[in-house]
Structures are given as C-alpha cells and as structure tokens.
C-alpha cells in the first residue's frame, strides 16, 4: 500500500519535472542613466525555470548577487534601496501568453503575463521577450524591460535624486538545460 503510493508519487514528480528547463547562471543587468551618473550592476546567478507543458516561467534572483563596480554603491544598493537583508529575493512569476510549438525550431516573440515581485511589492506586468526553441526544447531566452522605482516603493532621497534614474532599464538573458533532480 505504502510502496504503491510511493511509486505513484515518484511517477507524478518525474512526470512534472520532465517538462522543466532551467537556467542556473542567468544574467540580469540593470542600467540607470542620468546626466550626473551612469549606474549599472549585473547578477550572473539568476535562476529561471520554464515549464514547456503549461508555459509557466519563474525567474528568481538573490539581490546580493548584483555586483557593482563601486563596492560602496553595492553596499548602499543593498542596505538603503533594496533592503536585501529583509527582502533577499526578487521574483518574476509569469505565463507565456502565446502558445509555443516546441516541436518547431525558431525564435519566438513572447509576452510574459504575470507579477514582478521586487522590493516586496508585487506589480502585475506584461513583459516582452524572445524565446529560442531548438530540438523540441527551449534553448535560450532574453528580454529587456523598464522598472519604475516608485512602483516598487524604492525611495530615492532628494539629495541623491539627480544621480539615480526614476526608471531603470533591466535586461535578462538565460540559457536553458533540462532539469534533472539530483
């Protein structure tokens, strides 16, 4: 009885995970441009999972993996703006709107519909991107979109206001491999 249940469960798990493609070292990069200063940072540890069956996409990153050229800026980014000790992650939880035919190779224009959880504030978003399919599986994806700091309750004090743009340009890139449970 118990063993039967185990078998059923393990098949169920296997079945669910068979459609998962993941990227462990995705690139997320943001850029803030003002007349005073250009600020940018990159995280090379963005995790993304794409489910080819229900077309769900989850991308998540640890805020502290964003690396700045200026270490002090990195410290301020984490402490004052992102409060990464309290809110360590940012997540995009979305579904691809268009039906993708994974049996056909090619580059698809996709629209992700879902929520962007940044600085603990969830904002419904529609984000455009590109998805490359090859050999019946997603190979890579990329997107760029704007993030309004005010939408996510990230406050910029007036003294440094001129140095930080109100809207950041974010670009992400992922290369997918099939997910295998360790």
């Amino acid at each position: 009885m118990r063993s039967l249940l185990f078998i059923v469960l393990s098949i169920a798990t296997f079945h669910l995970q068979a459609q998962q493609y993941v990227c462990k070292t995705g690139k997320a990069h943001f850029f803030s441009k003002t007349a005073m200063e250009d600020i940018e940072a990159t995280s090379n540890q963005t995790v993304c999972a794409i489910n080819t069956e229900n077309q769900k996409v989850v991308a998540k990153l640890t805020i502290t993996t964003f690396k700045f050229h200026d270490k002090l800026m990195e410290e301020h980014f984490n402490e004052n703006y992102m409060e990464s000790d309290k809110i360590p992650y940012s997540t995009l939880d979305a579904v691809i709107k268009e039906k993708i035919d994974f049996s056909k190779d090619g580059v698809y224009d996709v629209t992700l519909v879902g929520t962007l959880d940044l600085h603990g504030v969830k904002v419904p978003r529609e984000i455009k991107g590109k998805l490359t399919v090859k050999g019946g599986a997603p190979v890579s994806a990329s997107s760029d979109f704007m993030v309004k700091l005010a939408d996510h309750k990230i406050k910029i004090p007036s003294v440094v206001g001129v140095n930080i743009a109100e809207e950041l340009k974010v670009d992400v890139a992922f290369d997918f491999v099939k997910y295998e449970k360790k």
Partner: protein, 336 residues
C-alpha cells in the same frame, strides 16, 4: 506490507504517514517555484559576512573595524571647536565656535578589502601638553569578519600607527620638546585591536584595547600606556545613526599622578574620553556631528593627554566628513 497485517496502533500510525504523504504531494503543484528555490539555495555561499557594522572607518575619533574598500580612497576632514560652556570664556567665543581645538585631514587607501594604509595630519589638541603638528601614518588589517549566522560572532581589525611631530621649539610654550633633542623624541606609536559585533541590524558594539608608546615623556610619566575603548552605533533611521565612544586608561599608569604636579603644570588632571554624535549617510559621504570632551583627534594625542572634562563644561562641538572615491572607474564596462 499491508495495513491488514498491522495492529490497530500501527494502523493509525500508518494512516498518519499516508495523510502526510498526501499533503506533501500537494506541494508538487508548486514544483516550479520549488525547483528555482532549490537551485538558489545550492548557490548560496556557505558563509555570508555581515556588512556595514559601522558606516565609516572611524566611529568618532577612534578607528572602527570597517575598512576602505579595495582601490578606494577615503578623504576625511574633522574639526573640533572650543569649549562649549566654560564660564567667562565660551560666551566670548560663541560656545567655542571661534576656536579650533584640533583639525584632522587624512587620506586612506584600500590596498585590499582587508588591508589599507593611510596618512594624516593633525594640529594637535590646543590645551594638550603633548607635541603639536602631528603627522601620522598607519596600517590597518582586518583579520576576521563576522558571519551572519554568528559562527564567527565578531569582526577583528588591527591598527598600528606612527606619529611624528614637526613642532618648533619654543621655550615659552612647549613643555614637551627641548632644544637639540634627537628626532626620535618626537615620535609616538599606537597598536590597537578592534573587536566588533553587529548584534542586531540596528546595533553595533566595539571593544578597542589600545597600547600607546611615547618615546619621550617628562619626569613622573610613563612611556607605555594601556587604554580600553568601548564604542557603539545605533541606527535610528535609514540613513541616520547615533554614535558613541568611551576610552579609559587601564591600570594605574605607572607613576602618573592625577591632580598633582604633572609635567610642570600644576593641578592638571587627566580624564576619560567620552564622545557622542549623530551620523548621517548620503551616497558616498558620511557626515557626523558630535560632542566630545577630547580636544585631540588622533589616538596618540587624545588618549594620553586629555585634560578636559564634561562636568566642567569642557565639551566641544565637532564634525567629521568622509568622502569615498572609487578609483579605476570602469568606463569600458559602462559602454558594454
């Protein structure tokens, strides 16, 4: 194995297990988020270091465990005004605003994240009997970093400095430097261990045992002296903190006399250093306004020579500004 072969007690246990398994199976509907979380957990570094125990390389006058980041320069200007509330004096100087007890200008460079060197120059505390015109060079090394899981409960930094005075001999002013003395008599040194713990996200505490060696001291004084410092920083708002510092001499300090005839000055007492302040941080700058009884700004001056006390209104307003410059701006990187 089947439920049929089990006794009633085992059966209820088995039912519990089955129920648990069914509950667990519900989690597979969130499998995708779990996979992402699992990978993120794998990526997590084994040890995470506590960041910004203090906001600056100094707390008020004394060093903090914080370092200048690699390839960055910290330019620091400190100013201490005159006595704020001494009867018959402070009224004429607008609470000491007219006077400058001490001024410090220093430049510190981070060779590595945990190793930095610095040079500075101070005027030397006005009423202090110690030598004036102090040039100092120091080296600072962080040996241990506190981790967020408190496996390493504190950060440890060591500071060593050497100070030399360029003061001119003046028979009417100087009680310290005589004519034709060897240059070594103008030097003093400090060794300091800093032990700090960021206890909570808003409270950091530090102990600073300090040893000071002065090459030349007058009759009745000692060359080597031990001090213990206790400092703290309490964050009260996002960019504002209250800072605190207290230094006291350890032991009897040899033949040093309190209130007696010391160094040719009658009725000269030495007091512990008590400093309080408010620290404001804006991107790249740290600005602190403080009240101190010490006049001097460098340890070799304010620790052994502090003759001012809070109880006599001999407190002074002071401010410190620190500006960080990151070198080697990656212009190539910005262009992508």
């Amino acid at each position: 194995m089947d439920l049929f072969f089990l006794n009633s007690k085992q059966q209820t246990q088995m039912k519990k297990i089955l129920f648990l398994l069914m509950v667990l199976s519900a989690r597979f509907s969130f499998a995708q988020n779990d996979i992402v979380d699992d990978i993120l957990n794998e990526q997590k570094p084994k040890r995470e270091y506590v960041a910004y125990t203090f906001k600056s390389t100094r707390i008020i006058n004394g060093h903090s465990i914080e370092m200048v980041k690699k390839n960055a320069i910290d330019v620091r200007i400190s100013h201490r005004f005159g006595d704020i509330a001494v009867k018959g004096v402070s009224g004429h100087t607008l609470g000491g605003i007219d006077n400058a007890s001490d001024i410090l200008i220093s430049v510190e460079y981070g060779i590595l994240d945990d190793l930095s060197i610095g040079v500075g120059r101070t005027k030397g505390g006005t009423a202090n009997v110690g030598a004036k015109e102090l040039y100092n060079g120091y080296i600072k090394y962080r040996a241990l970093k506190q981790t967020t899981d408190f496996k390493y409960p504190m950060s440890i930094t060591f500071v060593a400095n050497a100070v030399i005075s360029s003061q001119k001999f003046d028979p009417f002013v100087s009680t310290q430097l005589m004519k034709n003395e060897p240059i070594a008599h103008r030097a003093s040194y400090m060794l300091q261990g800093l032990f700090a713990c960021k206890a909570t996200p808003w409270l950091s505490l530090q102990l600073s045992p300090t040893f000071i060696w002065r090459n030349y001291v007058p009759y009745n004084d000692v060359n080597g002296m031990f001090f213990l410092g206790f400092s703290g920083r309490a964050k009260v708002a996002k960019r504002t903190a209250i800072i605190f510092e207290y230094f006291t001499a350890l032991g009897t300090m040899g033949n040093r006399q309190y209130g007696g005839f010391v160094r040719g000055k009658k009725g000269l007492d030495y007091y512990p250093n008590l400093h309080v302040g408010v620290e404001f941080e804006t991107g790249g700058h740290v600005f602190a306004v403080n009240l101190t009884n010490s006049e001097g700004l460098i340890e070799n001056d304010f620790l052994p020579y502090n003759t001012k006390t809070w109880s006599a209104g001999q407190i002074r307003l002071g401010f410190t500004i620190s500006r960080i410059f990151q070198l080697g701006k990656g212009s190539k990187k910005a262009k992508k």
